[in-house]
Amino acid sequence: MLRIPCPFCGDRDEAEFRCGGELPREIPQPGVDDDAWSDYLFNRDNPKGLVHERWCHSFGCNQWFNVVRDTVTHRIHAVYRPGEPRPALDGPCATAAKSGG
């Protein structure tokens, strides 16, 4: 059971959220080859460890935000709003907001 700290509403149960998957890489410029498009559209880092991903508080404020989560422990290391800079990844808990999960 995850407790997800929505940066707009505070701690809520995971059942209120929808995971939008890992943050995509930068969108390719027009004119790049099929390989680059295919990589952008389909390939994922799918890391074992810390992942940067998007969640939506669909049964709350319905806003999207970013989460840094460990895919092995499910511990949430940081949440941040769209447009805010990515927090540094190093260290066991580069915490912008802590989670009990």
Partner: protein, 414 residues
């Protein structure tokens, strides 16, 4: 390999069952092999077996970081079926079911295939329409499938509650579908491969690939470096992790798919029942346990444990359809890490690295594919060219756009 037979069983029984030899040989890693298969699950072991049996390549090692069959092969719900929609999937999974039908004899190991029928339910008029189309597509693909009315379902599965919160409007059944014993499939392939000379090495984790000029030359492991002409990755949920070590990315998201079993009961459910919409499938094992599964937790995970919200949803669906199960005690709940692709079709064949092959992206349905997956991957590795049945399952489909969007792959909606 001494064959198992009635005579050998009787002979050993008379001698108090002493002196049975181990079913397969647990080997130490050697210095070099023709082929190294990464992962001693069903797919890895089957690939090794067919390499030895069909292609005469016996200098093969299967490397396993944990223990044989301890990953998804030992964590699935044992469902065997071929009720797929698209012709490419149907041909492949039907081949797999055909191989399952002869597998106990082929491996001289009882895999306990029970073709008890697999029933897929619809809970609305519109879902029934879609299901009828699916059932007809299966028939056009030359595979058995039969639409049933609610009354027929009631006669087939007397315990079911047809007037549930989402009433049963009908369904279809593949009577040749069913379940088999997953540990037996792993051990049967291991035993048969071992007898043909394949080395099965446990507690040997691949930590890196040795790549020279975009061609694989071997692997680094926790038990030393091993040279190999060819390497085949069969690691289910860890496909992305190993691909990253070899320097490429794959279109895979790893998620936790959970399942659970109850205490054993007297026989009461002799069909596999699936409801795609309310996210539940259930069957009863030969030991009497009720096995229940559902959808995957909808976020990336390597945790091998499922989340509570989905567990609750899953059990609510079960109890609504089978009120008699409401007083059952669950014995165990667990999860396997499934590797889900964007079109839910597996990824099989070449990788960007020469002589490195991948069999992955099995998502929530890899168990039923083990025999055909092994057979076609062995062909692909031996000939350095995809087997015709998996020619369209390659990584290149994500560049060409020829995806095979197989909604039936999971059996439940995603």
């Amino acid at each position: 390999m001494r064959g198992y037979s009635f005579a050998s069983l009787l002979g050993r029984a008379l001698r108090g069952h002493r002196g049975w030899p181990p079913a397969w040989r647990s080997a130490d890693p050697g210095k070099a092999y023709d082929v190294v298969v990464v992962g001693a699950g069903g797919h890895g072991l089957a690939t090794a077996y067919y390499l030895a049996k069909n292609h005469g390549i016996t200098n093969v090692a299967v490397l396993e970081k944990g223990w044989l069959g301890g990953g998804n092969t030992g964590r699935n719900t044992q469902v065997t079926r071929s009720n797929y929609f698209w012709p490419q999937s149907a041909a492949f999974f039907e081949r797999s079911l055909k191989l399952y039908e002869g597998l106990s004899r082929e491996l001289n190991f009882n895999v306990m295939l029970s073709q008890r029928g697999i029933l897929t339910l619809a809970h609305s008029h519109h879902e029934m329409e879609a299901l009828r189309r699916w059932a007809n597509a299966i028939r056009i693909n030359g595979i058995d499938s039969e639409v049933l009315t609610p009354a027929e379902i009631g006669r087939l599965v007397p315990l079911i509650n047809l007037d549930a919160r989402f009433p049963v409007h009908g369904g279809f059944i593949q009577r040749r579908g069913g379940i088999s014993r997953h540990d037996a499939v792993a051990w049967g392939y291991a035993r048969a491969a071992s007898a043909l000379g394949v080395s099965i090495v446990q507690q040997c984790e691949v930590t890196d690939f040795n790549i020279d000029n975009r061609r694989v030359t071997g692997v680094s492991t926790t038990r030393g470096s091993i040279a190999a002409d060819k390497v085949c990755i069969c690691v289910a949920g860890h496909t992305s992790v190993l691909a990253a070590k070899a320097g490429f990315r794959v279109p895979v998201t790893s998620m936790a798919l959970q399942a659970m079993v109850s205490e054993p009961l007297k026989p009461c459910l002799d069909t596999v029942v699936i409801s795609p919409v309310i996210h539940m499938y259930v069957s009863q094992t030969d030991r009497g346990e009720i096995v229940v599964g559902g959808g995957a937790d909808a976020y990336n995970s390597y945790a091998q444990r499922g989340g509570i919200p989905l567990l609750e949803e899953n059990l609510a669906a079960l109890i609504e359809l089978f009120p008699a199960f409401s007083r059952l005690r669950l014995m165990r709940q667990w999860a396997g890490i499934v590797d889900i692709t964007p079109d839910t079709t597996p990824i099989m064949g070449h990788t960007p690295v020469r002589n490195l092959y991948v069999s992955g992206g099995w998502g929530t349905g890899g168990y039923k594919a083990i025999p055909a997956g092994g057979e076609t991957m062995a062909h692909t590795v031996a000939n350095d060219a995809p087997h015709p049945l998996i020619a369209e399952f390659g990584l290149d489909r994500f560049e060409s756009g020829a995806l095979i969007d197989e909604g039936a792959a999971s059996g439940v909606a995603h």
